[in-house]
Each structure stands twice: as C-alpha cells, then as structure tokens.
C-alpha cells in the first residue's frame, strides 16, 4: 500500500517567506559583526564584505577598559533591579484586578496603561530634576525606578491576563484546605501562573534593556549605562566605528540569551494580554 499519503511535512515554499525575512533581519547584524572585526584603517579605507585583516582588538579594548565593561555591568544591574521590582509589585495588583471588583478599578487599570503611552522624551527632563532632588541621580536604583513607569503597567497587564485564565475555584479550594492567603499565593497560585511570571519578567527585561533615553539622562559616572558609554566614547575618542560596532554587537548577547530561554513562551505571552 502507498503509505504516508499526504503526510504533514511542511512544503518548502512555506519556509521561503520567513527565510527571506530572516535574511533581511540578519544583514544589518552581519554588517555590525563584520565591522567589529575590522581595523579602523580597513573601515575607512573603503568597502569590504568580509573583514580582510581580521582583528579582535576592538573586543580586547572593551574587555580591558573598565569604563567600557562597567557600562554593561551597570546596565544589567538596573535592568535586573527593575525586573524584580516590576514583577513583585505587579503580582498583587494583577491579582486584585483579575479577582475583584472595587471602586474605580477600570479607571485605575486604564490610567496605569496610559503611562505606557507617555513619551520618554516628555519625561526625560522632569525625571532628571526629580531624581536629582531626592538624591538618587546617577544610581542604578534611579533608572530601575524610572523604568517602572512603563514596565509596571505592562507587567500588570500581562499577569492579569494569565491570572484570569486560572479558575477561581483554585483560590476557594485552598481556603477550604486551610491555607492562609500569603501561603496560598506563594505556594499554590504563583506556581500556577509560573509561565505568566516568566513572560512578564521577559518583557520587563526587554523594555528596560532597550530603553536608552531615560537611562542616559539619569546616569553620569557611577551608574553610567552602556548607551551613555557608547555615545560619549564615540565623541571623545573620535569616530571609531570598529569599536562602536563591537560594543553594539556585545549588547545583542544578553537579549539573545534571554530569548533563547523563553522562546516557547514569547508567542503565548503576547496573546494572553488583555486590551
């Protein structure tokens, strides 16, 4: 008998469109990487598709110069602090929105989301004044708190979506079994929405990591972010494209690692948010 008639193998043409798109995505990234392995002379000397004098010098400079690698450490520090704060604060709030009705709940939810719509350019200067006034200017915590402006609404939004998917019977059952609320929340509820927490953390990490206007405005020396390092080094040490490309290439790595870990949840997290 002819077996495997019309089996579910993916026709090749269906991979063609994604493949072309991915190629388009990879070209600028390839160019950045290629630049980062070139010497300044080669870059300024003219066009070359592959690096002719392959060099690791740009990377060596970044890894040996504290002003460079501290930029990365500073950025990662405030991103992690922000992710922890955003998710921790958003958890109980999202629970309240998903389980109860209370005075002004809908307006409050909408107000929270409007902060996602605030252009950072509008807030850059007032933020500078605010954090200078409370003596937090140029600290990691300042950037982490400032990023809460758009990350907390986002985290509440995502978590609320996931929590609404958990039947209320779970809560009621836990009370019948004699769980106190905090114990129920940590031991039963949080594991039940673990993937939601992962997705929310991913988005907080992402938006805090890519946002550069506020982080640059709020830091100068001690907590200088990688964005600030990149622009300032570029202006003081001349236009060193190779060094800039290497620094840029390195900023892709943390994001790539995070995506790899949450690859199965990304698509899901988007779909469960509520408008």
């Amino acid at each position: 008998m002819n077996s495997n008639r019309r089996t579910a193998a993916i026709p090749l043409y269906r991979l063609l469109v994604p493949a072309i798109y991915i190629l388009f995505l990879m070209l600028p990234i390839y160019w950045l990487l290629s630049m980062s392995f070139k010497t300044t002379n080669e870059i300024l000397g003219g066009f070359s598709f592959f690096p002719r004098d392959f060099t690791l010098e740009n990377y060596i400079e970044i890894f040996t110069d504290p002003t460079w690698y501290r930029g990365y450490l500073n950025s990662i520090t405030y991103v992690v602090i922000n992710t922890v704060i955003s998710v921790t604060f958003a958890l109980p709030a999202a629970y309240a929105f998903s389980r109860y009705r209370f005075l002004g709940d809908k307006h409050l939810f909408f107000w929270l989301l409007t902060n996602r719509m605030a252009p950072p350019a509008v807030f850059a200067l007032p933020f500078f004044q605010l954090y200078a006034a409370i003596d937090l200017y140029d600290t990691h915590i300042a950037v982490a708190l400032a990023h809460c402006l758009f990350n907390i609404p986002l985290a509440v939004w995502i978590l609320e979506g996931f929590m609404s998917g958990i039947p209320k019977q779970l809560d009621e059952m836990a009370y019948v079994d004699g769980y106190s609320f905090p114990r129920f929340f940590v031991k039963i509820f949080m594991p039940a929405i673990a993937s939601g927490i992962g997705v929310a953390a991913f988005f907080c990490f992402m938006y805090s990591w890519v946002e550069m206007l506020l982080s640059k405005t709020l830091t100068s020396v001690a907590a200088k972010s990688i964005a600030a390092t990149m622009t300032r080094t570029a202006s003081t040490a001349g236009y060193e494209l190779g060094l800039l490309a290497a620094a840029g290439a390195l900023t892709i790595i943390p994001g790539a690692i995070v995506i790899y870990f949450v690859r199965n949840y990304i698509a899901k997290g988007f779909s469960l948010g509520r408008v």
Partner: protein, 288 residues
C-alpha cells in the same frame, strides 16, 4: 471570563503599584504642567503665563511640520508592518523544529538597545562603506541618507520595519496558533477557499492580538527618539525631525522650557486621544 466579587479591600493590593507609578508619572507631569503655564527665570520664581505657550506651540509652523511628519511616519510604518507581519505569520510553519528557530531569530531585533539599532543602521546604510549604501550606489541608485531627505526617509522606514515587524509577526502568530484545528476542518468541509478561510476565520480570530499590535506600534512609533537621533539626528535639515526629536531640540538645545513643556502636554494628549478613540472604536465594533 471569571465572575468577580466586589471587595473594596482589594485596593490594598493595588496601592504599592499606584504609589510607584504615581511617583514616576504624576510628579514629573506636575513639573511639566508648571513649566507649561508659567515663566521662570530660575530660583523657583514663577510667573503665570496662562495659555501663551500653548498658543505659541499650536500656531507654530515648526510644530505643524513635525506633527505632519510624525503622522506620515506612523501611517507608513503601520501600513507596511501590519500587513507584512500578518503575511509572514501566515507563512510560518505551525509546528516542528523550525518554529523555535524562526521565533528566536525574529525576536532578536526586539532585544537590541535602541541606540544600537540606530548605530547599526547608520553603519549599514553609510553610502561609502555601508553594505546597503554601497550596494545601492554600486547598482546605480543615487543614495545618500545623510544628504538626501528621500534617502533618509527610506532608511528610517526600513529601520523601523526591520526593528518592529517581528512584534506584529509574533502577535499574529500567537493568534493563529490559538485557532482550534476544527475551524480549518469545518472550512474545508464547507468548501471555503484559502481567501475565505483568511477573511472569515483567521482575521476575526486575530483581531484581539492585532489590536494590541496596532496599539503598541502606534504608541512606540509616535514616541520614536533614540534610534532616529542616532541614525539621522533628525536630518538632513529637519526632514526626519519627528515629534520627540523636535521636543528634545526645543527643551535641551534651546532651553525653551515653557514651549517645550506645553508641547509635551499636547504631545502626550494626542497619543492618549488617538489610543482612546481607537480602543473605543474596536470595542464598539466588538459589541455589534
């Protein structure tokens, strides 16, 4: 949807979030409002100016131009990214090892810091040594994004498409994979064409995620700053000076705090208004 019970004490769960967001949103907003309605010469001495700055901003050609450019930019990228994102999501395999590969590679641009996105495209598009710029000129297209407004616009739009189409793809894909297999089987039995399946099953089922996608893309494109300032700096001339760049130029470049603050409020208000109108329309449509 689960049924919710009324419980006023739920406010206690929300208070920390409200406090933190209010601290970040209301105090700076008050600062902006302060500057928008008053004139100051330092030392915390303010003189009431009323709506002077607002009139000045709303009547200035400069604001009109930036606003028009912004509308044009946002419309173009929405018109490209949304259909393109849907098309790519539709052509992606539903299962198998390629899904992960596609998703990881496609999500990559979303996690690159915005200044790096700008720098990357700057290097990529440089007419003499950039891959894009050099190739275009090599095949006889006169392209120089630092000199020609048209090239600058094309580069800016390409950059945004590169940067953000994946967001639409991921959302649309999430919507597509959530459609139960039975819908496709029923459509097959009903003899529906591919186009009918798209129009009557896939598009309606993607409506919710597409609303999120359009809202997010609208908001973020309306606020675009970092990528653009690194790529073109708003130039050549003022050709790519969108709202955010104009605002920062006004506030930091010229230190015209009053008009800048007034412009900030108008700007914020416009974003809110458009989001609200869009949201209300979608909801109304839903109820019919």
């Amino acid at each position: 949807m689960i049924s919710k019970s009324v419980k006023q004490s739920a406010w206690f769960f929300v208070i920390p979030v409200v406090f933190l967001v209010a601290f970040n949103a209301l105090i700076p907003l008050m600062t902006v409002v302060n500057y928008a309605f008053q004139e100051t010469f330092g030392d915390n001495v303010f003189f009431w100016e009323g709506l002077t700055w607002f009139e000045q901003v709303l009547n200035s050609d400069r604001f009109h131009d930036a606003f028009l450019r912004q509308i044009m930019f946002t419309s173009i990228i929405l018109l490209i990214e949304v259909p393109l994102g849907i098309a790519i999501a539709l052509s992606m395999p539903r299962k198998g090892p390629w899904v992960s590969v596609c998703l990881v590679l496609m999500a990559l641009p979303l996690l690159i810091p915005w200044n790096v996105v700008g720098a990357m495209w700057n290097i990529f598009a440089l007419p003499d040594i950039g891959l894009l710029g050099y190739s275009l000129n090599a095949i006889g297209i006169d392209y120089n994004f630092t000199q020609q407004p048209i090239s600058a616009w094309i580069t800016t739009i390409l950059m945004d498409v590169w940067h953000w189409t994946s967001l639409v793809v991921l959302l649309a894909y999430a919507g597509l994979t959530a459609i139960p297999e039975a819908y496709y089987q029923a459509a097959k039995i009903d003899g529906a064409s591919k186009w009918a399946v798209f129009k009557w099953i896939q598009l309606p089922k993607m409506k919710r995620v597409l609303t999120i996608a359009i809202l997010l893309r609208f908001m973020d494109s309306f606020m675009i700053y970092t990528e653009l300032i690194v790529l073109t700096g708003g130039g050549p001339g003022n050709s790519t000076t969108l709202l955010s760049i104009d605002l920062v130029k006004l506030a930091l470049g010229q230190f015209d705090l009053g008009p800048a603050a007034a412009m900030s409020l108008v700007y914020f208000f416009v974003v809110l208004l458009i989001c609200w109108v869009f949201y209300t329309l979608m909801m109304k449509n839903e109820q019919q």
